[in-house]
């Protein structure tokens, strides 16, 4: 065990985290026997470090005993430790945390070593990068990162580069584990206090991420938070345009990827934050009542056989939105949001997209999901709106007629 640990420490001393790209566990090897001339049984190929699965338990147990023995002495009085002991504390905690980043006491000792300037902050960030490459959602590693970042910021000469690196690490962690709450929250902590330009570019990159990760609700929620901070920024000059563009974009996503919940949540969110951003009032007017029932009738209408290409449908949808919504709204000094029209258009457009993909086995389920989410969306937006009891009742009847709906839709 001691030899395994010392080989691993020797490897990391010669190849510190800042020279490594990726860390991971690899299949077990026949012999864990160390060889002086190499790093066997560890793999090091072009900056990729691999630990064989059968080396993990002995490595953990040995580094654990080294670490906790020294850590207890250190906590009692750090001055009683020799320089070599402090180096050992660094090596053993590094080894331990690469195997199990949840041992928060080991991160804490490293914080103390950083304060004593026994460790270098930039190199420490590289170690966290390496740990996250294997363990992208371990909260203690993210917590250590959040603690370290402001310290690096204080001494950094290139804040933009520092923050851009944070976004890169968050994106990688998000790619490695979908719906990674810690990665998206860290990204938000980095972005929310950044200058407007940085937030705008972070928003752009998140939108790009969304376009290839349609079920990543975390990314949509993050985009919405960043968008709100941009819309509320007094230095941002075109909030209405950006808002309209986002409404349109989310509707296009809903139509292009029918049956997915995330883009609907985003559209819902746009309506709900618009008031807080001083952009619109949600108006339920007479025309809404005329539109009532469209979703229902589309749902039961038989396929008429007409074929549309996806592009046609998008153009049609875009023209419809431009014509009916924003022209009207600007005259009235705010964005008029005829709730039911939105959902109805989306459903009509979706139907054509789904028809154009006829032959796809799941199209029936997709269609059912899309209708279900649309009804849910409509009812949801009426929450807390006065004077629409009759509309709610009608919608609930639709829900009931369709059968098999969640009980809360009928309870509200």
């Amino acid at each position: 065990m001691a030899e395994l640990y010392s080989t691993f420490s020797r490897l990391l001393k010669a190849n510190p985290a800042s020279t490594l790209i990726d860390f991971g566990f690899v299949p077990p090897v026949a012999s864990l026997e160390s060889q002086e001339s190499s790093y066997h049984p560890f793999l090091l190929i072009e900056g990729n470090l691999g630990v064989p699965a059968n080396a993990i338990p002995p490595l953990c147990r040995f580094s654990h005993s080294v670490f906790f023995k020294l850590a207890n002495q250190f906590s009692a009085d750090h001055k009683c430790l020799a320089d070599s002991d402090l180096d050992e504390l660094d090596a053993s905690s590094t080894c331990l945390l690469l195997m199990n980043p949840e041992i928060y006491t080991a991160w804490n000792i490293r914080k103390k070593l950083l304060a004593l300037q026994r460790l270098n902050a930039t190199e420490e960030m590289a170690l966290i990068d390496l740990v996250l490459s294997k363990h992208p959602k371990r909260p203690a590693a993210w917590s250590h990162r959040a603690w370290l970042l402001p310290r690096l910021r204080e001494t950094s000469t290139n804040i933009d580069k520092l923050l851009t690196h944070e976004l890169k690490i968050c994106d990688q962690a998000a790619q490695r584990h979908r719906m990674n709450y810690h990665a998206w929250t860290h990204r938000w902590k980095v972005v929310r206090t950044a200058p407007l330009d940085f937030r705008l570019s972070a928003f752009k990159s998140t939108r790009k991420y969304i376009s290839s990760h349609i079920s990543e609700h975390s990314a949509f929620a993050h985009a919405l938070a960043v968008l709100e901070s941009i819309l509320k920024d007094p230095d941002f000059t075109t909030p209405l345009e950006l808002f309209q563009e986002q409404v349109l974009e989310s509707m296009k996503l809903i139509v292009s990827y029918p049956g997915h919940k995330s883009p609907w949540c985003y559209l819902q969110g746009l309506f709900l934050i618009s008031g807080r951003c001083g952009l619109s009032t949600v108006v339920v007017d007479a025309r809404v009542r005329e539109e009532l029932g469209i979703v229902h009738s589309v749902a039961i209408e038989t396929v008429d056989g007409s074929q549309f290409s996806e592009v046609d449908v998008m153009d049609w949808l875009e023209a419809l939105i431009q014509k009916h919504t924003f022209d009207v709204s600007q005259k009235e000094g705010g964005i008029l949001v005829p709730l039911f029209q939105f959902a109805s258009w989306i459903i009509q457009a979706s139907k054509r997209v789904i028809e154009s993909r006829k032959g796809v086995a799941e199209s029936g389920t997709i269609w059912h999901n899309q209708i279900e989410i649309a009804l849910d969306f409509q009812l949801y937006l009426l929450l807390g709106v006065d004077g629409v009891d009759d509309i709610k009742m009608d919608l609930k009847q639709n829900v009931k007629d369709a059968g098999g709906w969640p009980s809360f839709l009928l309870a509200v």
Partner: protein
């Protein structure tokens, strides 16, 4: 066919956790052992088998995790943290052993973690999270120290309220994505503090009810898989807000029961997976909230037996 709740198997499962000391998995979970003890102890209490574990032994173990500042670490030799301090206080409260600790000292420690904006850091290193607001509020409530000169309750409420999102849910910090675990922490803390009027009940209830999937299980966020622990995080909030009837009770009960290991005992995150003590507690607690027969009633704010909360004189 859905099996019945395998009470005896689960009790044995929890009893035997400690006999696995030599296994690497058990050993590797050392840093949160104190949480594990809370999960196991609360499980057997809710299963109406409080005699299954040795109280004196547990109390000695808990005390061995305490530091000189009154706070607790996750295990002997691990640093103090609010997460483990709450578990320690919950365990001691359940075992009627709060006289073993100095409540004023712990309340002073908790106070030292409150930030000017009312939020709480988990330890001295300033990580802010609404989970820690919950830990602080729950812990001080159990210790009957939810008042001056300890924490600033109004500020604590203000911070939690600032984490409310447009969808009615709550995240870990202001603006972070709504997450059922964080929502439980915020709603639970507001319930303990008697400030439920700050919650958008219908909007949040809707969001929570939407967590139920076709197979009856609940997920923690949109587009996630169902998971037994969310039976607790989601259900406890719906219960606090009196909206438990918004989800389908029978299909959720079936989902939890199908996630049991009816041979080896314990409950897994979902049917077919390996059981663990964390999901065992939250599965059993969820069943208790759903009114499953012959279980001890659970308090949705504290995730502890109602009888314990009553004994402490908490309303």
């Amino acid at each position: 066919m859905t099996p019945k709740l395998a009470v005896a198997k689960h009790v044995t499962y929890v009893q035997e956790l400690d006999n696995k000391k030599d296994s690497f998995e058990y050993w590797a979970g050392e840093h949160l052992r104190l949480n594990g003890v809370y999960w196991g102890l609360t499980s057997v209490h809710l299963l109406k088998h409080p005699e299954a574990l040795d109280s004196a032994q547990i109390i000695e173990y808990v005390m061995s995790c305490q530091h000189t500042n009154g706070a607790f670490g996750g295990h002997i030799g691990h640093d103090p943290h609010l997460l483990y301090t709450l578990s320690a206080v919950q365990i001691l409260a359940t075992l009627d052993a709060l006289d073993r600790i100095d409540a004023d000292q712990i309340a002073t420690y908790v106070k030292s973690l409150q930030q000017p904006d009312g939020s709480f850091s988990g330890d001295e290193y300033n990580e802010i999270d609404t989970r820690f607001s919950y830990c602080a509020v729950n812990c001080l409530s159990l210790l009957n120290r939810l008042r001056q000169p300890y924490i600033d309750v109004d500020r604590a409420v203000e911070f939690i309220h600032s984490c409310k999102n447009f969808d009615g849910g709550y995240g870990s910090v202001p603006g972070a994505e709504s997450h059922s675990g964080q929502i439980f922490c915020c709603v639970g803390a507001l319930a303990i503090l008697g400030r439920l009027e700050l919650i958008e009940t219908d909007r949040l209830g809707w969001w929570l009810a939407e967590r139920q999937l076709k197979n009856g299980g609940l997920n923690g966020r949109p587009e996630k898989l169902e998971d037994v622990c969310y039976s607790w995080w989601v259900l406890s909030c719906l219960s606090i807000m009196d909206r438990i009837h918004w989800i389908n009770r029978d299909s959720l009960v079936d989902f939890i029961l199908n996630a049991q290991d009816t041979e080896g005992g314990g409950i897994a995150d979902r049917p077919g997976d390996v059981s663990d003590v964390f999901h065992t507690l939250f599965g059993v607690a969820g069943l208790s909230l759903l009114g499953y027969p012959d279980l001890e009633p659970v308090d949705p704010r504290y995730c502890m037996p109602c009888s314990v909360i009553k004994r402490l004189g908490i309303q």
